[in-house]
Symmetry: C2
Subunit: 687 residues, 2 copies
């Protein structure tokens, strides 16, 4: 293990004398022996299968768990925020007031939530290798994508079975993940935003913490709650200091295996650009909220997302700017390359990969602006533009053979395309104008006033003028119109004079051109050479390493444990109490407890644990993951990592990296005594 820790972690095995609780392990590669060695408990196959089938993914980027035989799903409030916002109106604001369906019939369908349950994992590395073997970069990449689409199509069934080929170790291994897909997902319960996100942005990624970042959803089939065999039971006790705990969830992505050249690109280019964009947008939205209560209500989720991401990127950037950390990465790559080069066969097979990737990073910088702004949509931040582009591209892509399409239009992905395209979620003109104006302004700024593509988009218009005319002029708010354009295919699209469709059409060739250049001469180089590096790693380190996160199901182990705060030098206790929330209450947003809490104070056991932190290795995407004990019972609900965990993107620091969770007892206490949600409590803890 020593080699692995040198490569990925910050702590040395020799120093601490114990293994770090590091690693986001796949379910078919979980190191049960390591857990046994450290904690005396061996998760067996049956245990792993039960946990896997009880865990779920929210397809837009979160985790969750089944917590009853009737399809009840527990996740975070911030994972269900967009649904709660979409179901709200000015007169009936569920974000502010919370939501509780006292009866089954009161549960309301979320327009855009899809839930996936991982039912099977199949190794398809050999099949992928068979079609890509010996191919040059572009051909390699084309063949790879085609085979992935093919495999996914073979595996999928109707809209109910979703299949994704997952590239692990950046191409070292390919697994086919088969999911049960649920698109009828209904809102059951959400507390008030004020307690779900108590402390707001100032306390985000901080610990100690006092949040009830909780929501319950339910999956339906044929208008009935789904009956489940596998789900997590509720623990009677909750988590205590020192307890062994597991987190089963979907970490979105990590960058621990990146090369130094890739890390430099992130540190010196990408993260800087990204943060500056988000900081400006944050300022814009903050002031937009002053336009009125309504604007504040419906821009809240967006602003939260921006602030959350900005703070996360800040933490990541700081880790890369840490000279000591970066020097370690450089030294470790150097040692690894020396190792590879010392063996003539390895040298020949893998030796050139790092320089090839470094070269691709240089090329990426050159086309980053048009790629990001034209193709990846940052220049057109508007739901209505997104709809227009999906219509334009669907018309062009769907007539093609499945393997020839842009990946996001492959058959296996069409249910998601349809769900978003035909969503009845409300769209707010002034917010659309605001974000579109901003993004058009940045498009002009990043590509330059005189770029022909910018001139094509703007003409003589100012960004605001254009945004206003597009948003006011388009009819795509009408879901029936979207359906008819979608069904009408290429002919309907070509005939449309809807201004947003016209814009999406007008810029499509340029956007595709830059994407092709990226895929053929950059992505392909990175992928092919990353596969080589992965194979080199297997050659040197064997299969004992875990892959970077890929928004697929992973299992981590760890324990409830405090840490020493680096700045203050203080020892941070791992559990907070409900009393602490009342102490922190100032009555002013974001430190204002909701009225329901103030009213219930006397009834509450203030000594109930509220939040806690654990050594589990998690990252963004893990939000909503269950924290379970060795009996696979729920003891908590992950909703955050501490500020030190943000650098975990690049390397895990066992001394201070902590997952942050809502304590099971707080959930129970709140449901019972504040929200009087007896129906839910009974479902979670049947007598």
């Amino acid at each position: 293990m020593k080699k692995i820790l040198t490569l990925f972690g910050l702590a040395s095995l020799l120093c601490s004398g114990t293994l770090a609780d590091e690693g986001m392990w796949t379910f078919n590669g979980f190191p049960s022996d390591q857990v046994k060695e450290k904690y005396g408990f061996t998760p067996d196959t049956e245990w792993l299968e039960h946990v896997r089938l009880s865990s779920v993914r929210l397809a837009e980027g979160c985790s969750g768990s089944f917590v009853s035989p009737d399809g009840l799903v527990m996740t975070n409030h911030h994972c269900a925020h967009s649904c709660i916002e979409q179901l709200s109106t000015a007169a009936r604001d569920y974000v502010a007031a919370g939501f509780y369906a006292k009866t089954l019939v009161e549960e309301v369908r979320c327009p855009e939530i899809e839930i996936n349950q991982l039912t099977k994992i199949t190794d398809v590395t050999a099949r992928v290798a068979a079609v890509t073997k010996g191919l040059k970069e572009k051909e390699y990449n084309d063949a790879l994508k085609a085979e992935m689409s093919k495999l996914e199509k073979e595996c999928a069934e109707g809209t109910e079975i979703r299949c994704d080929v997952v590239s692990l170790y950046h191409g070292g291994k390919y697994d086919l993940y088969r999911y049960k897909r649920f698109q009828d997902v209904r809102l059951v319960f959400a507390p008030e935003f004020a307690i779900a996100f108590f402390g707001g942005d100032p306390d985000n990624f901080m610990f100690p913490r006092y949040d009830l970042d909780l929501a319950f959803l339910r999956v339906y089939e044929n208008d009935q709650p789904v009956r489940l065999k596998h789900y997590f039971k509720w623990s009677g006790e909750g988590a205590k200091n020192g307890d062994l705990v597991f987190v089963s969830g979907h970490p979105g992505g990590s960058s621990r295996l990146l090369t130094v050249a890739e890390l430099e690109f992130e540190r010196d280019f990408f993260l800087v650009k990204r943060q500056l964009y988000q900081a400006e947008l944050r300022g814009l939205l903050t002031e937009f909220q002053n336009r009125g209560a309504e604007q504040k209500r419906y821009s809240n989720g967006l602003l939260f997302g921006i602030e959350n991401s900005l703070k996360a990127r800040r933490g990541m950037h700081e880790r890369l700017l840490d000279k000591r950390f970066f020097a370690m990465k450089v030294a470790s790559e150097k040692a690894f390359r020396r190792n590879i080069n010392s063996n003539p066969e390895w040298r020949k097979a893998y030796g050139g990969a790092w320089d090839a990737i470094a070269g691709a990073q240089g090329e990426l910088k050159k086309i980053w602006a048009p790629l990001t702004y034209l193709e990846n949509g940052r220049g057109f931040s508007s739901t209505l533009f997104h709809i227009a582009r999906t219509l334009v591209r669907s018309a062009a892509e769907l007539p093609k053979a499945n393997e020839k399409r842009l990946r996001e239009y492959a058959d296996s992905n069409l249910p998601a395309v349809r769900q978003n395209l035909f969503s009845a979620a409300p769209i707010y003109d002034d917010l659309e104008i605001e974000t579109l104006t901003f993004s058009l302004t940045k498009l002009r700024e990043e590509l330059g006033v005189d770029d022909p593509r910018v001139r094509k988009v703007l003409g003589t218009f100012s960004p605001r003028e254009l945004a206003v005319s597009l948003i006011k002029g388009t009819k795509l708010r009408n879901v029936e119109l979207r359906k008819s354009l979608f069904e009408g295919g290429q002919a309907a699209i070509e005939k449309s004079d809807d201004p947003m469709v016209v814009l999406a059409r007008k810029i499509d060739t340029d956007a595709r051109q830059i994407r092709t250049r990226y895929e053929d001469s950059i992505e392909s180089v990175i992928k092919k050479n990353n596969e080589l590096i992965a194979r080199a790693q297997f050659a040197v380190y064997g299969a004992s390493i875990y892959p970077d996160a890929t928004f697929t199901l992973r299992l981590t182990y760890g324990q409830v444990k405090g840490y020493k705060d680096a700045r203050s030098g203080k020892e941070i206790q791992p559990l907070t109490r409900i009393a602490g929330a009342f102490e922190r209450n100032t009555g002013r947003d974001p430190f204002a407890l909701p009225a329901s809490w103030i009213k219930a104070k006397d009834r509450l056991d203030l000594n109930t644990p509220m939040n806690f932190c654990t050594t589990n290795d998690i990252i963004g995407g893990n939000s909503g993951s269950p924290v379970i004990n060795r009996n696979a019972e729920i003891v908590g609900l992950v909703f955050d990592g501490n500020i030190e965990s943000l650098g975990g993107e690049y390397g895990f620091d066992p001394a201070v990296n902590r997952a942050v969770a809502v304590h099971g007892s707080a959930i129970e206490e709140a449901l019972r005594k504040i929200y009087h949600a007896e129906r839910l409590v009974t479902e979670l803890k049947p007598r």
Copy 2:
């Protein structure tokens, strides 16, 4: 010269075969021989004195020139923007409509502009050295500041003579600069903002360019225009491609002599923090402008300042992120240190300076947030707070002996303190609330919710709540109240219950504490060791190097010359024509030519040169500098540098670094045919 170029510049003498036009030279250290060698013209003592006395400084951060015997001053519109805005009202918007005083009596006094004319330079290095010799860091710094205040007081006379001790080469040399100070400065002419800043932020720092970034002011004494012996005459011809030109102005600051540790601090910490702050504020103000036409009018100058600074910082940051450039800096420092260490005497005297400075940078990081937010005022962005703090500190400082005061309250600086404190410039409540809310939010973010100083400031208030109560509650809008508090001294301040005074009082001890820590254990270390490095440089390179910019008068030489654009590979011609402005006109802000131009189009000679670029080595602060020919006649007006010049902060690149100026002929053409400013034309070009 080879050594110098290796140390400071980017080009090698050996490569180009000619000297680069690099260097922001002092008037008492100007390399006339170099100019002769390259251009065959020797500026002599008389020429230099005439140019020096014809150049002026706008004390808040710009340059300008005397252009008539009657005190007429030419500068940039953006240097006079704040005055033009302050003199405007909703009904009479001089920023939008422009301003022209047809007669002398119509000239209007600017509330806050101070103009300085450099009349004498005296070397005081020996006097400073005598009091600081052998002292340790804190004592060194205290003695240095006391001696500077003393020297300045001895030299100054009333409010009319201003004296500043200038630290050159980061402490290698001290000169006493004696200025004639003018505080009665009146607005004479300004064109419309739309042409002064044609192309707006997108074209800012770009070339080719089409701006008339021009304003005329006039200095008065005893209510009469000042009569001058020295001023620049107007050239009959203007500048042509290849012409030798000089720029005499006040570059604000540069960082070419910084150590690698200091540059790393800038690259990895300071510039990141600064840009993120400004980007967010930019977004906020952009949306604030949507509140209405009035808000747009009075937040325009502020937004311009933020965008301008942000773009400049972006360019600076990119230069430091350029791996090749940074490696050159590292190598050059390494070679220099090796050189120093090879001589035992030098080693003993100077060898430890670099590590000491690096240590101080580490300490600075630790206290950067409270220093910046509490002491440097970033946590309290409000004119009214600034007034309150000035009152609180004046009361505490003025009773002390001159040498014991905070430097900005020394006698020599009091006229500037008074001018700002008693300014009748309008203050807008909603903009004050906006910026104060933002800065209080960032204060909380950077220091942390639980920092006792943050708790002291906010109490249980939210940032917005506190900002509203302060701005609505304070009476400091009333200039008479400010005067009475200022005259009333400590007793009046202690008795005041004005909420802004109360806040300034409440936080003053904490702010001073962090400043003291900075001055005593960081600034002092940096200053003392920078002096050592400067001496080491003199030892190795002699006196042939120029000092970093210090917002004092400098002279640069160069020529009208195009360059090759690195991105597009295109050759950029050095002169643009008035016709180009019409071609670029879209009719939409910021590419909308004003009505006066459209109307005058037929009368204009469209072939008239509009803007031009030169190889002169300039930087922020040089805005408003005259471009003169060898006869010391005006041929242009510096208003910008190209995007490549932004990296000039850290090193001059002769291939692409360009100053950007309004052409003299465009000024004449516009004054005559668009603005019909006959009085001005006659004054500039008497028959």
